[in-house]
Symmetry: C2
Subunit: 391 residues, 2 copies
């Protein structure tokens, strides 16, 4: 006997996740797991619930921020400082597969849930402890938000206009990257548990995840004397690979090799760029990037973005518009990929939310998701299920 399964069919169907997380990194992780078919039960504090229930933007049904991250989950309010309520929480853990929390390291332990105790009582339970800086090291007890790890992890120092200020990435990549790594850790541990029948703990720090996405910037620091800084929208080592002004906006063009560059020069009407000794290969083009950019921009300014994109796509050159978020949600390709899904019984009713980019041959990709729960909305049915299992 076990808890009932999620309504969503997917590779994690039959898995139950007890989710103590708030705001973004943790809820993003469990949203990914829910999209894969896991049943996610949010355990919230009874007074206010997940902090993000009070985050804008709002609509008539409440926080659209909360609704978009917590679609398809259930909610039960449990006060972990109340001994009677802890009994309920323990009963829930006993029938679940995964526990995830994003308290500061040590907080859950002080409530009686050290990993050693968890593992002894619930040997199959997988436990993801997600925090700003991880459970060890000098900063372990520091408070963190997305902005703090974006700043400390180096990505802000690489983002921005040439010579300008370091700039925050415009979505909460510090949280989201940690949520994605968390989902990898949990699914890998679930795979392994099928052999060992034992759970394990995963210690995940948001700052560590920022280091993991620095990519070639780390290699550049170790192999050159140059510390990379913001360079606008161009690639540091591939040229031309940047945004360019048109008569009515900007487009991006990405010439990853010589052939693409030669075609691009043809499209611009200046085939002689391809035989210019300064631009013969990628290394030379990167060395003379300012000269080349000036020449390219002189020509790209002559036509509109849509004229350029038609011409360049016809020639097979990787390029695209720089879409704002309205243009993204209006894009027919995004719609055809089911990347904006509706909420069932939608509160807020007009809201669409991001779909699941993982399209499995084995499972349908539903065009709707269950809406996010009210605080404690599913208490009664969860308690009834536990009573049936424990009787």
């Amino acid at each position: 006997m076990s808890l009932r399964k999620s309504n969503v069919d997917g590779p994690l169907r039959g898995i139950t996740v007890v989710d103590l997380t708030r705001v973004l990194a943790g809820p993003y992780c469990t949203m990914v797991l829910a999209d894969l078919g896991a049943r996610v039960i949010k355990v919230e504090n009874p007074s206010t619930g997940d902090d993000s229930r009070s985050f804008g933007p709002f609509t008539k049904g409440g926080s659209a921020y909360f609704a978009s991250l917590n679609r398809g989950k259930e909610s039960i309010a449990i006060d972990l400082k109340d001994p009677n309520e802890k009994i309920l929480f323990d009963r829930l853990l006993r029938h679940s597969d995964v526990l995830i929390e994003n308290y500061r390291p040590g907080v859950l332990g002080r409530l009686g849930y050290d990993w050693e105790i968890i593992h002894d009582q619930f040997p199959r339970l997988i436990y993801l402890a997600l925090s700003g800086f991880g459970r060890t090291g000098p900063y372990a007890q520091r408070p963190a938000y997305d902005l703090v790890v974006q700043a400390m992890g180096g990505i802000m120092s690489l983002t921005g206009q040439l010579g300008g200020e370091p700039t925050r990435v415009g979505s909460s990549i510090g949280d989201i990257t940690a949520g994605l790594y968390g989902a990898i850790g949990i699914t890998a541990a679930l795979h392994e548990r099928k052999s060992s029948d034992k759970g394990c703990m995963v210690d995940l720090g948001m700052l560590d995840c920022q280091v993991a996405i620095l990519e070639n910037a780390i290699a550049r620091v170790f192999t050159t004397d140059h510390v990379p800084g913001p360079i606008g929208s161009r690639h540091p080592t591939i040229t031309p690979f940047s945004s360019f002004p048109t008569s009515d906006g900007h487009i991006v063009v990405a010439c990853g090799n010589n052939v693409l560059f030669y075609k691009f020069a043809d499209c611009l009407g200046v085939p002689e760029l391809a035989t210019d000794s300064r631009f013969l290969d990628n290394a030379l083009r990167t060395l003379h990037v300012d000269d080349l950019t000036a020449k390219i921009e002189f020509h790209t300014r002559k036509r509109s973005s849509s004229e350029w994109l038609e011409l360049l796509l016809e020639a097979g050159i990787p390029c695209g518009p720089i879409n704002n978020v309205q243009q993204v949600v209006d894009d027919p390709h995004i719609a055809s990929r089911n990347m904006l899904v509706s909420l069932e019984d939608s509160k807020p009713s007009e809201l669409k939310v991001a779909g699941n980019p993982l399209k499995f041959s084995k499972y349908a990709d539903p065009v709707t998701r269950d809406s996010a729960p009210e605080l404690d909305e599913n208490r009664e049915s969860i308690v009834r299920e536990l009573d049936a299992l424990d009787s």
Copy 2:
């Protein structure tokens, strides 16, 4: 009998991944899998191998770009247009668990490897097809690079200084996000295969992943008339939550609630901000963000970054320096978390690369990784293994 296991102990130990991918999104995905204990065999074209073998930065052993993404993998060069070589490739697939490729949709099919054929011949094989736009929809056949999906997916429109140009995120988040989602899809499919004993296909588009990380920007488009644009380093709906100038640089401060804001006002020496009717709660502070920012900056400019950080951390306010990549690699916390690992027999020898942010209670987190392979370096040993298995 099966292929030998990876040297790395982890939840995916015993899994073999055949990796046809090049450059970044795919190799990032298989790097994550290798860190989890999977054995990753790169199948490269015999003429040049993975394109990124020729990408800078370079050091005496070759491309540091390639070395950092392909550490711990093996290489075999196979020409998939040669019928004899295809027999070898098929033998490899027969003994492997996962196939991953990032050709444009249809390319692998034309080489004889449609999903239906793969699934019929190798029913347990899991197949991740990773492309710019996915296998369906109007843009399926378009070429894509990181820059193109960053531009089309909206994140550039959210990144940059207020009123300034849309800005590329300074690391290849378009590739990396797809790599992380790919790792989630594969591990989830591996978990499911333990029950069904059947593989499945995962169709993953980089642009779809960009939509999935837009976060509250999508909710804002659906609930307000405002299309979000770049706003510098501040958070769109939480205030104060931004970078601030000091006497010698910038720091970030993230006040996610009223209590933190009141403490911050105290630290600044202007406790009266907390009772100012314009700044009483987060919604009001966000409405009057320009007034508040001017007041905060007036005070933050008076001291150095390190003085402010000491004061604010003492008060428990989430804050941090804006580190450049040199400062990141020199940070003692990053070192203590083993987030920079050395390469065995290191070519390039002085190179350190990003470690694995997933710290499992069950497995060691090694301080070194095997170095990246030369093109075709492991052919002999792989063929010998296959001969033993097939004899």
